[in-house]
Amino acid sequence: MSIDTRGRQAAAGLHASVGHLAADPPPLGRPCSGRRVAALAAAAAAVVLLVAGGITALRDGDDGAAPVATAPGEVPRLLPSEVPAGLVPTGAVDLPVEDDSMLVVTMAVYGDPEADDPFAEGDLAVYWQPDEVGPPHSPERVRGPAAVIDEAGEVLIQWVEAGHVVTVHSRSLPVEEVRAVAESLVVDESGAELPDPPGDMALVGRAPLGIDGRDGRVAIPVDRPGHAAGWQREPTGSLAVATVAGDAGTMAAMSWFSQPGERTEVAGRPGWSLAGGEMLLWQHAPGVVAVVAGTELSAQQVRDVAWGLRPAPDAEWAELLALRAAHDAGEVEPQQATLGGGLPDGGTWRVFLREDGVLCVEVGEQQAGAVECLEPPDEPVVLEVERSDLPGGGRLVFGWFAVQGEQVLVGDAQAELASDGEATLFAIALPPGAPDGPVAVRLGGEVLAQEP
């Protein structure tokens, strides 16, 4: 059998397995158990509080990172020194927040608490949240109630009992052992307890995690102090930085949530690299856990953000809090790709892609210039280039491209880039006398598009 034959057979099998779903699409944006969009910053973190006092200063390791001073018991507000290109801030939030819309899952994780990686030799999670929708329709029974049992890669058993949706979940145990754990639980109105963990396992960590109903990427204990800030690049790129008080058990619960992962150090501190490097989680100081998480970012970009964190000045943080509030109130326009800078005469320039994809430019004094939006091309193109003479000399070369380039050269000069998720904007302000030249969009060593 050839690989093509095998691939087509596998494709047919996969289509057949989801065929009934195609006939009955769910309502788009179906509510998450009736919850509204949660108010957390677009963050991707799961950290839990366990306040520990007596912390006076946090020192980075010998990696050259700046020390971050923190008062005793204080959870620091941290921001990136440099945000990867194309990401725009969505705001920040201070924890705790009182938000009934937040889905809170109480999670207890089991493994080897003495091991560097407590889940390396076996793992188990028991978690529960308030039931709002009733039991599943399933012929399976666990402890009496109808239960969902899924064995696709990981074993998960879920049922409704005592007002909770209770879940037992393992990435290493066979279904028989997971079912035995489910049968042995003590479940009442206060939650679930596991009196006798299987094998040599013991409780490693326990934490109530709030999950963002908007995109599910956030799992933060919203009932305790902390701070989170987010950035996004439509439609699906994001960056989050969060700090919350927490200990090793907290980190363990969080790391289980985002496995697979491996132990690592972040700026000399013990932590985890999770989800293929998209998330770094570390003990920033005793009693403080920090998280940096990105989507559509490389592991190196996530590391650069984590290593470059700085304390957030009060004014900057206040702006981010206000931005978050404006987002919640629906007062913020959808993201635009924007680039801009200063001019020798004190003026500024800005180019951006309007919501409808039209290229616009603004040149003036302190952003007081008139916005000019250009007529879109008559025919579809992959690269649009425009040029505009600047006051005081020099030239602005700007435009956008729809291919997956990572670098734009104008002659020999490299332009700045910003993406709105559909197209990538580029711009460069050439000083007076600087040579203009052809515009080339490059990926690796390959020129993907060029003009003229």
């Binding site: 691939g7 599943p136 329709h137 879940t167 990926l443």
Partner: protein, 171 residues
């Protein structure tokens, strides 16, 4: 963006959603390996399309746009984990039976696909699941056709090796 000038009449989003839903779920399933997460990822992709519908509806192939978003979401392990968590949080209210299990040999194939580098996995999933040509995949993923050919060749070779299929080295 290329066709985003709004000159094409916008087809109804609901019809678009119903037409493409199954295909996008299948693509997300193949790339994520989780059936519940695949539905969540597909929902996320369609929500993105809905947010940008005035623009997306003007594209020559809005279905390709939503597939690209879903494919990018599905190869992001963090997003996949989050979608799984979100799906799990909803299972208590699930009113429909879970999808059928994949046959072991099919499951092995898709596991091997997911072990590939992300771009190779996307290319090979679109190739087999949707029978798309190199040119179509290139347009869908914003890649050069030559790049797609390279990814497809390497993916085939890696899959053959992983699955113990001989005679694919020179294809």
């Amino acid at each position: 963006m290329v066709e985003a000038t709004g000159t094409r009449p916008a087809a109804g989003f609901e019809a678009f959603y119903r037409w493409h839903w199954g295909g996008v779920v299948a693509l997300a399933y193949g790339l994520s390996g989780s059936r519940p997460a695949a539905e969540e990822l597909a929902q996320e992709a369609f929500l993105a399309a809905h947010r940008h519908w005035d623009t997306v509806a003007g594209y020559d192939d809005p279905g390709a746009w939503v597939r690209r978003v879903a494919a990018n979401l599905a190869v992001s392990s963090l997003r996949r984990r989050a979608a799984e968590a979100r799906a799990m949080a909803r299972w208590g209210g699930r009113r429909r039976p879970l999808p059928d299990q994949l046959a072991p040999e099919d499951d092995a194939f898709w596991r091997a696909v997911r072990a590939l580098p992300a771009r190779q996995a996307q290319v090979v999933a679109l190739h087999y699941l949707e029978d798309r040509s190199v040119a179509e995949i290139a347009a869908l993923l914003d890649l050069a056709e030559g790049t797609v050919k390279v990814h497809l060749h390497r993916a085939r070779r890696a899959l053959a090796e992983a699955l113990g299929i001989e005679g694919e080295e020179d294809r």
